[in-house]
């Protein structure tokens, strides 16, 4: 699968309260959560982004709470994937479990600037910055996680294989 979109950059340590503030956690409806995606990091984000666009973060993206509402809000907003230097661990597993595509790229914020057009090949992990004409390789995804992705998330994986 290939993704292509405009990059929206955020800094280091973007926490789940910034991705989806707790005041909106009284619902599990993806479409509701999507309306407030990234609100406390950038209140204009939802109005400026288009489907297919890409979020780029620094280190420790998605730190803080275990709320799966965070990847749900990002996915439902239409963002195609998230690229960051590193992810907080619960956000990382949540993304694979529920089917948001994410990539770890060292020094992501130096390689991609806000507004750059970026193309990602999910099968090879190749990240092309079209605006700047550079190509990078994201960190390899463990085999088990690849299986989760190809099965369509953790619950589909269990259905298909009878266990984790």
């Amino acid at each position: 699968m290939k993704f292509r979109g405009k990059a929206f950059t955020f800094g280091d340590d973007i926490d789940t309260d910034a991705i989806i503030p707790a005041r909106y956690l009284n619902t599990w409806e993806a479409s509701e959560l999507a309306k407030h995606c990234m609100e406390d990091a950038d209140p204009t984000f939802v109005s400026r982004m288009s489907p297919g666009d890409i979020i780029v973060g620094g280190k420790n993206f998605g730190c803080g709470s275990s709320r799966e509402h965070a990847p749900i809000a990002i996915k439902a907003s239409g963002i195609s994937c998230v690229i960051a230097s590193s992810f907080a661990r619960i956000f990382y597993r949540n993304s694979f479990n529920m089917g948001l595509t994410i990539f770890e790229l060292d020094e992501a914020l130096e390689k991609i600037e806000d507004g750059d057009i970026v193309e990602v090949d999910a099968s090879t992990g190749e990240i092309r910055n079209i605006t700047r004409g550079n190509t990078y390789l994201s960190r390899p995804i463990p085999q088990f996680m690849q299986k989760l992705v190809s099965d369509g998330g953790l619950l589909e994986h269990i259905k298909k294989r009878g266990s984790i």
Binding site: A18, W28, A41, C63, R89, N97, L154
Partner: protein, 421 residues
Amino acid sequence: MGRTIAEKILAAHTSVENFSEGDIIKVDIDLALANDITAPVAIHAFRSKGFNTVNDPGKIVFVLDHFTPNKDIESAQQCKLVREFAKEHGIKGLFEGGEAGIEHALLPEKGLVVPGDLVIGADSHTCTYGALGAFSTGIGSTDFAAALVTSQAWLRVPESMKFTFKGELQKWVGGKDLILYLIGDIGVDGALYRVLEIDGPAIASLDMSNRLTMTNMAIEAGAKAGIIAADGVTEFYASQRSNRSYTVYRSDPDAHYVAVKEYDCSNIEPQIAFPHLPENTRGISEVGEILLDQVFIGSCTNGRIEDLRLAAHIMRNQKVSKGLRCIIIPATPGVYMEALKEGLLEIFMEAGAVIGPPTCGPCLGGHMGILADGEKALSTTNRNFVGRMGHPGSEVYLANPAVAAASAITGKISSPEEVFS
């Protein structure tokens, strides 16, 4: 090579032999926890994927603690969904109403976790139970749904880091200050994907409450789990509360750590974490004058009876500063009852504090103490992210309960010494 406590507990819960750090393994869990925010997402996923059987209802616990007593119609709907699901599947571990307390204070208090357990929880502060010598870690709602179906989870075998605390604790310093100091040292991603193993003579002298405060905040350094090996304090605590048999694990002397650090407690004064990250720590003597609009004493970090005793010790015969709101929330009904019997609630009320029912409430900006734009709060909680307790323009400072109580009286961030002198 020898193994760490974390590796030993994982080995006891998996059929995978000879795993190494970084491997992804399947583990059997002893307990899976979810709350009124994370359970609905899991139940929705469970149902929409066509599952209809919970593998082992006895291993499931629901605590409706975040937006309860229901703060609005949507929250009430979420609780109703969980309640009905629990009934439908014969899940007896449902805590709500007068039985609800903040999950990470409630589960240890009720004896639901014992040393050697492997616990997962759809709440990031599930790492709290590591103080009991258990391996416990926060996961997401889909993981929880998978645990409903299989009583299992997938985990990446984490590397461990060891932190040894030596020396005498200074006055007014507790577990909160030690863990804030550690996070200030290694940063909010300093232990990403790893286990924080905490030990040393200073830890051996801490009571269970202070230990729980420390492991509670392991996630604030990005850790997967925080662990303190079980000792006499742990065994006494667990045996008072549970009839279940338990296993005490200790790390082998030649176990592998990716980092080993030592701190001398005699250099650690009460710590304050400045906005907007728990790593922005300073000693109380370096804070300067910071005027406050609100003080909150509560949460899974510092809402236990020992925390309230400390706060009451400072607030006795004192008055909350005019114009400052001091909100105190006992973490569980057990804590509330004990505080009532000991006369602590009377001390707080006479001082002019507001006392709330056990709930997370303001800790995550849910209800009962939301901050307005530009307001500053000192809180005994664990996170001070932008907007954590209300308006994105508000500020949260983190501290221990003694500093919080003293600051409520002076109206600015203060050492308890200022109130006593």
